[in-house]
Every structure is written in structure tokens, then in C-alpha cells.
Amino acid sequence: MNNLKDKLSKLASDQPSEWKAKAQYRRENREWLKKSAAIAIRVLDALKAQSISQKQLAERMHISPQQISKIVKGQENLTLETISNLENALGIQIIDEKAHQNGAALKRGKPAA
């Protein structure tokens, strides 16, 4: 072992860094994390605009403040039900109406516009 590395190692914590595991998780889940982030921004914008606290939102949605915290951190893999509940609780639209139209078109056997 060389001198510098030896000196640095003597000052090292015995606790390993978890960064790489976290970075790998973010890489592997990037696509849905981006969607979760976009929703978190919409929610945070709405909370601020309406002067609603996270606790109040949790009460409106009948879920725990911890769950709201995960949502606004953009790290929650949200279900459609939770997204719908967020829309209702905040009076905002998160999923674009166009998605419904495309869904309806697919149902009728036509390609989405």
C-alpha cells in the first residue's frame, strides 16, 4: 500500500459508503423516478399555491404524513389510485386528459393520435 492511501485509510470510518448502491438504484429505476419527480413538483406547487401543509394533505387523503413525505420527495412508485386521490385532494390534474382520449381510442380499436 502506498503512503498516501495508507495515511487516508488510517483516518477512514469503518462505515461503508452507500452511495454506489443508491446511485445504482436511481439508474435502474430512472424512468419511473422521473415520472414520480414530475408528480412531486405538481404536488409541491399545489401545496404552496393553496397554502396547504403536508399534514393537511395527508388528512384529506386519509394516509400517513410519512407517505406524503415520500410522494413529495419524488421517490414513491405511485399507484393510479394514489395519483387520483392526489388530484381530488388538491383539485389539480396530474394525468393529462389526452391520455384518457388515447385510451378511449385504443378501446375503439383506433391508433392513438
Binding site: 495515511k7 477512514a12 459508503s17 413538483i41 413529495v72 419524488g74 421517490q75
Partner: protein, 185 residues
């Protein structure tokens, strides 16, 4: 203060280290990447620094645009470091010294122990570090830099941590020449 290896070579002094301010806590490197991937933290940061965000230096940006921009930058920075951690230190054309640039933009030579920062193109994310050897860096923290100077308190705090880390190294027999750069960039 302790040091934490983030990723280091097995057979040389090459590597990326970080300071850990509190025993049992996260390294400052990890704290930085946790923050820039946390939507709530980013939203609060830009809300608290709204005047800098919407001042003349940046031309005026909404909080949500700033958060989105930061996420893209953080992804780019983290991916570059992750790729490096996977490929190792053999490739001389792609290693830490290509990611970390001298702190002062007008300083071209990279000296041993030079204070450095990682920077993606014209981005505003900064990862502050002390250069210990050609390809060995000690990260002391990171920040979102919205101003042309280091006056905001969160940037001043990064300068303090750089100084604390320097002192810590000196106290433990890892000495280096006086710095040639300042942090006024």
C-alpha cells in the same frame, strides 16, 4: 471528522474519498447526491433562494423549472461518477482529473492538493474537493451555485468545510502547499 472511501483503486492511491462530519452520519458526498435527488429538498432550496434564482445572473427561472434542471444535471454528474467507479482507474483519458477542474477558471495547471470542483458544462451543481494526488480527491461537500460569487451562506458553509478538511489533513500528517487559488469564482 472521518474519511470515507467512495471508490478507490486496489493497487494505487487513485480514488475518490469524502469527509464524514459526524460519526455514524453520511459522507458529505452522499449527502450532496441525496439532496439533489430529493424533490422536496430542491423545492425548498429554490424557494429559499428565490431572489438569486430569479435575479439577473440566471435571467429568471421558476422553481419547478429549476428543480427539473437540477435533476437532469444531477443525473449527468452521478452517472459520470458511477461509470468511473465501474471502469476503474486504468483509462487515462477518462478519470477523476477529467471530471474535476481547477476551482479558479483562470488557473490551467492542476497542482497537488488543489481545491477542485466537479462541473458539468455550464451547470450550477458543484462538488467541492481537495486534490490529494494526480487522481485522488477528497470531497468536502457540494452545492447549487446560483450566484457568480460565493457570498450566499450555503456556499460560505462549503468554504468552511474545505478549510476544516484542510486542517484535519494537516493535523493528521497529510500536508500540502498553500493554496494558489481562491474561491471567488
Amino acid at each position: 471528522m472521518k474519511l470515507l472511501p467512495i471508490f478507490i483503486a486496489q493497487d494505487s492511491e487513485d480514488g475518490l474519498w469524502s469527509i464524514q462530519l459526524e460519526s455514524g452520519g453520511l459522507s458529505e458526498f452522499e449527502v450532496f447526491f441525496d439532496h439533489v435527488n430529493d424533490l422536496e429538498w430542491l423545492y425548498d432550496f429554490f424557494d429559499q433562494n428565490r431572489s438569486d434564482l430569479q435575479g439577473g445572473f440566471l435571467g429568471g427561472l421558476s422553481i419547478s423549472d429549476a428543480v427539473s434542471r437540477t435533476l437532469i444535471e444531477a443525473e449527468e454528474m452521478e452517472n459520470a461518477l458511477y461509470d468511473l467507479s465501474e471502469q476503474g482507474f486504468e483509462n487515462k483519458d477518462s478519470n477523476l482529473q477529467h471530471l474535476f477542474k481547477p476551482l479558479n477558471n483562470f488557473e490551467y495547471a492542476i497542482a497537488i492538493h488543489q481545491k477542485s470542483k466537479a462541473r458539468i458544462k455550464k451547470g450550477w451543481l458543484r462538488l467541492y474537493a481537495i486534490r490529494l494526488a494526480e487522481n485522488c480527491y477528497l470531497v468536502t461537500g457540494g452545492a447549487i451555485k446560483l450566484t457568480p460569487n460565493m457570498k450566499p451562506s450555503h456556499l460560505g458553509n462549503e468554504l468552511k468545510k474545505l478549510e476544516q478538511a484542510k486542517q484535519f489533513l494537516r493535523n493528521n500528517g497529510i500536508d500540502y502547499p498553500e493554496d494558489l487559488n481562491n474561491y471567488d469564482e
